[in-house]
C-alpha cells in the first residue's frame, strides 16, 4: 500500500484528475426503478449509504438518501459516451445532472496518508470508520468535498469555483506532511 515518495518534490504537488461526474437523485416514488435502471446502465449496484461501488471504469458513490454520484474516468464528450447513456436510461425516472464541470477532483496519494488528510479533513479515515469502499460528503479546508478512495490514494472532489484554493490547501498539506516526515524520520 504505502508507496515511498519519489525523490523529486513532485510528490508534494497536488494531482488533479479528469473525470465525468453525474449526480443522480430521484423522487421517493421512483427510487426502486431508478436503482434498477442505474444498475442496468452502469453494471454497478448503486450503494446504500455512504459507500463506493464499482470498478476503475465506473464508480458509483452514495452521497445522500436516494442520491448518487456516478464517476467515470476521463473527460466526457457531450453527445455520446457513458454520461449520455446513463442520462438517457434514467430519463423520466430521476434527475440526472452533469456535474463534471461542477467539481475539481484532487488525489492525495496513499503514501501521504493519513498525515496529509488529517490537515485537510476532520473525518476519521481509520479503516474501521472509513473502510476501503467508504465514501463521504464532508468539508475539506472549509470547502465542500466528496471523498473516496481509489487504488492509489484518497480522492477529493471540491467545488469548481474554489479549485485554486483547494489546490493551495492540498499542496500545503502534502508539503507539510513531507516536511514532518523528514523531521521525525518517519518513512
Amino acid at each position: 500500500m504505502a508507496e515511498r515518495p519519489p525523490p523529486s518534490g513532485g510528490a508534494t504537488e497536488p494531482d488533479r484528475l479528469a473525470v465525468t461526474l453525474l449526480m443522480v437523485s430521484c423522487p421517493r416514488s421512483t427510487a426502486a426503478e431508478t436503482r434498477a435502471a442505474l444498475r442496468q446502465a452502469t453494471g454497478v449496484e448503486p450503494p446504500e449509504g455512504p459507500r463506493r461501488a464499482g470498478h476503475d471504469a465506473m464508480v458509483i458513490l452514495g452521497v445522500g438518501p436516494d442520491r448518487w454520484l456516478v464517476v467515470v474516468p476521463g473527460e466526457r464528450a457531450f453527445d455520446d459516451g457513458p454520461a449520455a447513456r446513463i442520462a438517457a436510461a434514467l430519463h423520466g425516472l430521476a434527475l440526472v445532472t452533469d456535474q463534471s464541470d461542477a467539481r475539481a477532483v484532487f488525489r492525495v496519494p496513499s503514501f501521504a496518508l493519513p498525515g496529509a488528510a488529517e490537515r485537510l479533513l476532520a473525518i476519521d479515515l481509520d479503516p474501521r470508520a472509513f473502510p476501503d469502499d467508504g465514501a463521504a460528503v464532508t468539508e475539506a479546508a472549509g470547502m465542500s468535498a466528496i471523498v473516496w478512495r481509489d487504488g492509489v490514494g484518497l480522492l477529493l472532489a471540491v467545488p469548481r469555483s474554489m479549485e485554486a484554493d483547494a489546490a493551495h490547501h492540498v499542496g500545503l498539506a502534502l508539503r507539510a506532511e513531507a516536511a514532518a516526515r523528514a523531521q521525525t524520520g518517519r518513512p
Binding site: 449526480m23 437523485s25 430521484c26 423522487p27 421517493r28 416514488s29 436516494d66 442520491r67 457531450f78 453527445d79 430521476a94 434527475l95 445532472t97 452533469d98 456535474q99 463534471s100 464541470d101 461542477a102 467539481r103 488529517e118 490537515r119 479533513l121 476532520a122 476519521d124 481509520d126 470508520a129 479546508a141 472549509g142 470547502m143 467545488p159 469548481r160 469555483s161 474554489m162 479549485e163 485554486a164 484554493d165 483547494a166 493551495h168 490547501h169 500545503l172 508539503r175 507539510a176 513531507a178 516536511a179 514532518a180 523528514a182 523531521q183
Partner: protein
C-alpha cells in the same frame, strides 16, 4: 552569584554547550537545559519585574506554573512576549529579554510603585481618577495602560506558518508521567487506538526530575522503556511537546503541538505550531499536580522557590539554585525534594518542617539542621535572598542565613481538564486540596491528578484507568501487569499562610496580590470567590492562578470564618495553558482566510484586462477599462453598448437549482409568492420568494424544462440559503411531496447576451439549424439547443438589462469559449464585455431590485409587488405578509429618484421632505443604489421613501451629512427607461 552547575548528573549534554543571550548579555548553557535552568546555572537570579509594584523577581516554579520568569523570547517579528523561561527549551543563539521594567531590570524606575504601594491597594483605581472625567482617556488611562501589561508584541505580522489538524482515537491519554505511561501501555496492549500527549519534549514527567525506583531499575529507565514500547505499537501515537489545552463536547479535545519552538526558527515546510482537534471516545487525564507555595512576608524574594522546581533543577538539569539552601516544607514530598537535592550535590543546610514532631531524616540529609514545627515568616534580601526569619517551635524567632529557600506547602491535583464542561470540583481534607467531582463523559483521572500522590499509587491507578478505558471501547486483550514501585510517604498538611512578617506577603506573585489585598477585599464585602478574584485580579495572570488560587481562597475563608469550599470552588476554563491566536487560525490566513470563488469566464476577463471586485466569496469583473478609462467611463461605455448594440456578461454566480418530480410544480407553487403552476413547458417567469415571516427572502427566475422538471435561479448572495430553504420545505415542511432537488450552480456557465443586436449575435454561435427567432424563442421562452459545434446549452430569454436579452447556459468549462466566440463573432456588431458596474447601471435604469434593495426588512408591497403576495394560493409567508404592519401604505416604498440640476446622489443618503430640517424626526427613507445613466446622461437612483408610491412628482431632500452633501431629487417610479418593457419583448 547564587546558582551554579553541579559537576555531574542531570539529563543535560555536557558535550553540547549552547550560547544564548539574556538582556543582551551572552551566556552558555547545555543541550537539555531550559532557559530557566541555564540562567540559574549562570548565576542569574533576577529574571523579571512584577506587574504592579515592579518588584524584583526570580525563578519560582517549574514548567507552566511559573508566575515570575516571563521573558520576551526571540527578536524582530518573531518576538514572543510573556514566555515562561521554565518552558523554553534552550537552543543555540537563543535571545531573550526581561520585560515590564524601565529602563533596566536591575534599576526599574517603576519600582517607586512599591514605595507608594499602600495607595495602590486592590481596586484603588475604582476609587479615584474620576475627575475631571475627560482626564481618564487622556491622562490616567494611558498611565495605567503603560504601567500595566507585561511583554510587547512586535507589531509586525507573525512570519511563521501554522497548521490545524484533526485526529481520532479510542483512548486519549493526557500526560506522559508515570500514570500516563502506565495508562497508555495498558490501553495500547489491549489493542485500542491510543494517543499519548505530553507537553514536555520527553516522556516521564516527574520521573525526569525526581529519583525513583520502579521494578528493578530507576524511574528514568522505566520511562524510556515505556516510551520505546509505546513507540513500537502501530496502534499508539506518541505526541510529545503537545499540550491538551481544552475539553469540548462529544469527546473533542483541543491540543497544541509545539513543532518548532525548540528551534531557532521553523525549518522550511514546517509550521511553528500545530493546533490539533483530538476526537477520542475515552480519555485518561494524568496531568499530575501543582505544588502549592506558602504565603509569608517577602515570599517573592528571588531565591525563594517551590521545592519541586528546585528539585527539578538539581535532578534534571544538574543545577544548584544556591550555595546554602534551606527547605521549608509542610509535606513529606518536601523532604524527598531535600534528599534528592542533597544527593545531587546541592548543599542543603536546613530543613524546616512546619509540622511538629520528629521524622526519620533521610541519610542524604544527615548533615543538615532540622527544625520541626518551625515556620518561615519572612524572607530577607531584596533582590536576592540572604536570610530567612523562622519562628521556632518554642515561639522564639531565629534568623537563618541562606541564599535559596525551597518551599513545599502541599499539592493541588491538576484537575483543570475535568472542569472544562462545567463540572465543579470537591474539597478533600486529606489532601488539603480540591479534587475532581463529577467528570466529563468518557473522562477518567489517573495518578496525582486523581489525588493519588505516591508513585506506586500513580502507576497502579494509571494502569487500571488505561485498561478500563480500552475495555469501554471494546478492547480486552491482556494489558499485562501494572508497574510497581515502593509506596513512599506522601502526607501533606494544611499550611497556607504564615502571618507576622513585616513586608508584603504575596498570594499571586505575577499580579502582585498580597494577603493584605485579600483582607481589604473581604473588608469591602468582595467575599464571593469570583468577587475576590475580579476585585484583586488574584489568579487572573498568565499562570491562571496555578500557585495562587488555593492560598487566596484559604486566606479568604479564614478571614470570613468559612471553610475553603464554602468560600468558593475554582472553575476551570480552557485553555489550560495559553495558546497562540495564530495556531488556532492555522493555514486560514492572508489570502487564504476564506476560499476565493472564480467564475468560469475568469480567464477571459483577465485576458481583457478587467478590473475585479469582491462580491461575497466571488471575484467578479467590475469593468473592462479601455485605454485611459476610469471605472465610470468604462462602465458607462459598457452600459451604452448594451443599450445601443450588444454586451455580454457572466451570470454564473447566481444560484441554480433543478427541481424534478411529480410534485415539482405544486412544490414551487408553495415556494413562490407568484403563481408558478400555470407556467407552460418551455417558458420562464419571475419568481418572488417570501420568508416564513412574510418578508421578501429572494427573487429570481423559474423555468419549466418539462412537465415535471424545472430549473430556478436565485441571487448570488442567497444561493446557499435558498437551496437550504428549498430542502427544508421538501424534507421538513412537506415530506409527503414527491420530488428531488439538485444544485447545479457550479455546473453551468450562464452568460447574458443583451442588446438590440443580441439575437443576430446569438444566431452566429448556435449550431446550424437551431432557430432563435422571436417565434422560436419568444420573450420569457427557453430552449435546449447545441452551439459551438455540439455543446449543449440552455437559452432563456429573460432580461435584467431591459434590452432584448438571452441567458445562455453552457457546461462551465465551455463558458470561456462561448464568451470568446460571442466577442469575436459579434465584434462587427459592436458587442462589448460588461462587468458588474455596467450590470448595476442597467438594472438601476430598469428599477430591478438587487442586494441593496432586498435587505431582509422589505415586503412585497414595498417593492410594488403587493399584488403577488395577495394572490389567493397558499405559499410560504403569505399569511404573515398580509399583516397590517407589512402592508401599511406609509411604509417606505421603492421609488426612482432624479436629482435636480444633474447633481450626484449616493447610496446611503437619507430622504426628507423638501424643506425639512435634517433631523431624525423628518427622516422618510434612504437611497439604496445610485448610478450615472448613459441613456439619460445624468445621475439616477433607487431608494425607499415613506409612502413613496403615492408621491411621484414630489421633490424631496437628499441629505448625506456623513459625506457633506445635500441635494434635491424628484420622486418617480422605479424605472427610468422603457417603462412598458417593449425592448425586452422586441
Amino acid at each position: 552569584m547564587s546558582g551554579w552547575r553541579l559537576p555531574s548528573g542531570g539529563l543535560v549534554d555536557r558535550g553540547r554547550p549552547l550560547d544564548f543571550r539574556f538582556d543582551g548579555r551572552r551566556y552558555t548553557g547545555l543541550a537539555g537545559d531550559t532557559l530557566a535552568s541555564a540562567l540559574t546555572a549562570n548565576g542569574v537570579r533576577l529574571l523579571g519585574r512584577s506587574f504592579k509594584y515592579h518588584r524584583p523577581r526570580g525563578l519560582f516554579a517549574a514548567g507552566p506554573d511559573e508566575p515570575n520568569a516571563l521573558v520576551e523570547l526571540r527578536a524582530g517579528a518573531r518576538r514572543e512576549p510573556n514566555t515562561r523561561a521554565s518552558e523554553v527549551e534552550l537552543f543555540e543563539g537563543l535571545e531573550a529579554a526581561s520585560q515590564n521594567r524601565f529602563p533596566s531590570l536591575a534599576f526599574d524606575l517603576m519600582g517607586v510603585n512599591s514605595i507608594v504601594s499602600p495607595l495602590l491597594a486592590a481596586g484603588f483605581y475604582y476609587k479615584t481618577f474620576k475627575w475631571p472625567s475627560a482626564f481618564w482617556e487622556r491622562v490616567y488611562e494611558p498611565l495605567i495602560r503603560r504601567a500595566a501589561g507585561l511583554g510587547r508584541l512586535s507589531g509586525a505580522p507573525d512570519p511563521d506558518a501554522y497548521e490545524t489538524a484533526t485526529v481520532h482515537a479510542d483512548v486519549l491519554v493526557v500526560g506522559g508521567g508515570p500514570a500516563g505511561l502506565a495508562a497508555a501501555l495498558a490501553a495500547g496492549r489491549a489493542g485500542a487506538r491510543v494517543i499519548l500527549a505530553e507537553r514536555d519534549a520527553h516522556f516521564g514527567g516527574r520521573l525526569l526530575s525526581e529519583r525513583h525506583v520502579i521494578g528493578e531499575g530507576d524511574g528514568l529507565a522505566f520511562a524510556r522503556a515505556a516510551a520505546d514500547e509505546l513507540a513500537a505499537m502501530p496502534n499508539v501515537r506518541l505526541m510529545p511537546r503537545t499540550t491538551v489545552f481544552g475539553v469540548y463536547d462529544g469527546g473533542s479535545h483541543g491540543a497544541l503541538e509545539k513543532v518548532a519552538d525548540h528551534l531557532p526558527e521553523p525549518p522550511p515546510g514546517l509550521p511553528r505550531q500545530r493546533a490539533w482537534t483530538i476526537v477520542a471516545r475515552r480519555s485518561v487525564v494524568a496531568t499530575g499536580s501543582v505544588e502549592r507555595p506558602v504565603v509569608f512576608s517577602a515570599n517573592d524574594t528571588p531565591g525563594v522557590m517551590l521545592a519541586s522546581a528546585m528539585r527539578g533543577l538539581a535532578v534534571r538539569h544538574a543545577v544548584a539554585a544556591g550555595r546554602r539552601v534551606a527547605v521549608f516544607t509542610a509535606t513529606d514530598d518536601g523532604w524527598a525534594a531535600a534528599a534528592d537535592m542533597a544527593a545531587a550535590g546541592v548543599p542543603v543546610s536546613t530543613v524546616i518542617d512546619a509540622r511538629p514532631g520528629r521524622r526519620p531524616v533521610p541519610p542524604e540529609l544527615a548533615a543538615a539542621r532540622v527544625i520541626a514545627g518551625g515556620l518561615v515568616r519572612e524572607a530577607i534580601g531584596g533582590r536576592s535572598l540572604s536570610t530567612i526569619e523562622v519562628v521556632l517551635p518554642g515561639g522564639g524567632v531565629e534568623r537563618i542565613p541562606c541564599d535559596a529557600l525551597a518551599v513545599s506547602g502541599g499539592h493541588q491535583p491538576d484537575i483543570q481538564l475535568a472542569g472544562h464542561l462545567g463540572h465543579r470540583p470537591a474539597w478533600n481534607d486529606g489532601l488539603s486540596a480540591f479534587v475532581a467531582g463529577e467528570l466529563p463523559p468518557g473522562q477518567r483521572l489517573a495518578g496525582a491528578a486523581a489525588g493519588r500522590l505516591s508513585l506506586a499509587a500513580c502507576l497502579a491507578d494509571g494502569h487500571a484507568a488505561g485498561r478500563d478505558a480500552a475495555a469501554d471501547c471494546g478492547f480486552a486483550a491482556p494489558s499485562g501487569e501494572a508497574p510497581r514501585a515502593k509506596d513512599e510517604p506522601s502526607a501533606v498538611s494544611a499550611l497556607f499562610h504564615v502571618p507576622g512578617g513585616r513586608g508584603k506577603a504575596f498570594v499571586d506573585l505575577q499580579h502582585d496580590v498580597t494577603a493584605d489585598d485579600v483582607a481589604l477585599a473581604a473588608r469591602e464585602g468582595y467575599v464571593a470567590a469570583e468577587h475576590l478574584k475580579r476585585y484583586t485580579t488574584l489568579g487572573m495572570a498568565t499562570d491562571q492562578g496555578r500557585t495562587s488560587n488555593l492560598n487566596g481562597l484559604a486566606i479568604l475563608a479564614a478571614l470570613t470564618g468559612r471553610t475553603i469550599p464554602e468560600a468558593g470552588l475554582p472553575r476551570g476554563r480552557p485553555p489550560t495553558a495559553p495558546v497562540a491566536i495564530a495556531a488556532l487560525a492555522g493555514a486560514h490566513r492572508g489570502r487564504h482566510f476564506r476560499p476565493t470563488r472564480l467564475p468560469p469566464t475568469h480567464e477571459v476577463a483577465v485576458e481583457r484586462g478587467a478590473s475585479f471586485i469582491e462580491a461575497g466569496a466571488w471575484l467578479r469583473a467590475a469593468y473592462f477599462p479601455a485605454e485611459g478609462e476610469d471605472w465610470l467611463a468604462a462602465a458607462t461605455r459598457e452600459a451604452a453598448a448594451v443599450r445601443r448594440a450588444a454586451g455580454v456578461t457572466e451570470m454564473s454566480t447566481l444560484g441554480k437549482v433543478e427541481v424534478f418530480g411529480p410534485d415539482a410544480a405544486a412544490f414551487l407553487q408553495r415556494l413562490y409568492a407568484n403563481a408558478i403552476d400555470r407556467l407552460k413547458v418551455g417558458r420562464c417567469a419571475y419568481g418572488l420568494m417570501l420568508r416564513e415571516d412574510g418578508f421578501v427572502m429572494d427573487d429570481g427566475t423559474v423555468a419549466r424544462l418539462g412537465d415535471r422538471h424545472f430549473v430556478v435561479t436565485c441571487s448570488t448572495a442567497h444561493a446557499a440559503d435558498v437551496f437550504e430553504h428549498m430542502e427544508f420545505c421538501r424534507q421538513v415542511l412537506w415530506p409527503e411531496m414527491d420530488l428531488t432537488l439538485q444544485s447545479v450552480t457550479e455546473a453551468f456557465a450562464p452568460l447574458a447576451l443583451a442588446g438590440p443586436r443580441a439575437r443576430d449575435i446569438l444566431a452566429r454561435v448556435v449550431d446550424p439549424g437551431v432557430d432563435v427567432s422571436a417565434e422560436a424563442l419568444p420573450f420569457l421562452g427557453c430552449l435546449e439547443v447545441t452551439l459551438l459545434g455540439g455543446v449543449p446549452a440552455r437559452i432563456f430569454r429573460i432580461s435584467f438589462s431591459g434590452e432584448l436579452a438571452f441567458e445562455i447556459a453552457v457546461p462551465a468549462r465551455r463558458g470561456a469559449d462561448l464568451m470568446r466566440a460571442i466577442l469575436a463573432r459579434g465584434a462587427d456588431l459592436g458587442v462589448a464585455p460588461y462587468g458588474l458596474e455596467a450590470l448595476n447601471i442597467l438594472r438601476i435604469e430598469k428599477g430591478h431590485p438587487a442586494g441593496a434593495e432586498l435587505d431582509g426588512r422589505v415586503t412585497a408591497h414595498d417593492l410594488g409587488l403587493g399584488a403577488m403576495a395577495e394572490r389567493a394560493h397558499d405559499c410560504i409567508g403569505r399569511t404573515l405578509a398580509l399583516r397590517p404592519a407589512l402592508t401599511d401604505p406609509g411604509r417606505p416604498r421603492l421609488v426612482g429618484l432624479s436629482p435636480l440640476d444633474g447633481a450626484r446622489i449616493r447610496s446611503g443618503a437619507h430622504l426628507l421632505p423638501r424643506d425639512a430640517a435634517v433631523v431624525a424626526g423628518n427622516d422618510q427613507g434612504w437611497v439604496t443604489s445610485a448610478a450615472f445613466s448613459p441613456e439619460l446622461g445624468r445621475w439616477i437612483a433607487l431608494g425607499y421613501l415613506a409612502g413613496g408610491h403615492l408621491r411621484h412628482g414630489e421633490v424631496v431632500r437628499v441629505a448625506d451629512p456623513l459625506r457633506g452633501s445635500d441635494a434635491l431629487a424628484t420622486v418617480g417610479p422605479p424605472c427610468f427607461i422603457d417603462p412598458k418593457g417593449e425592448r425586452a419583448r422586441g
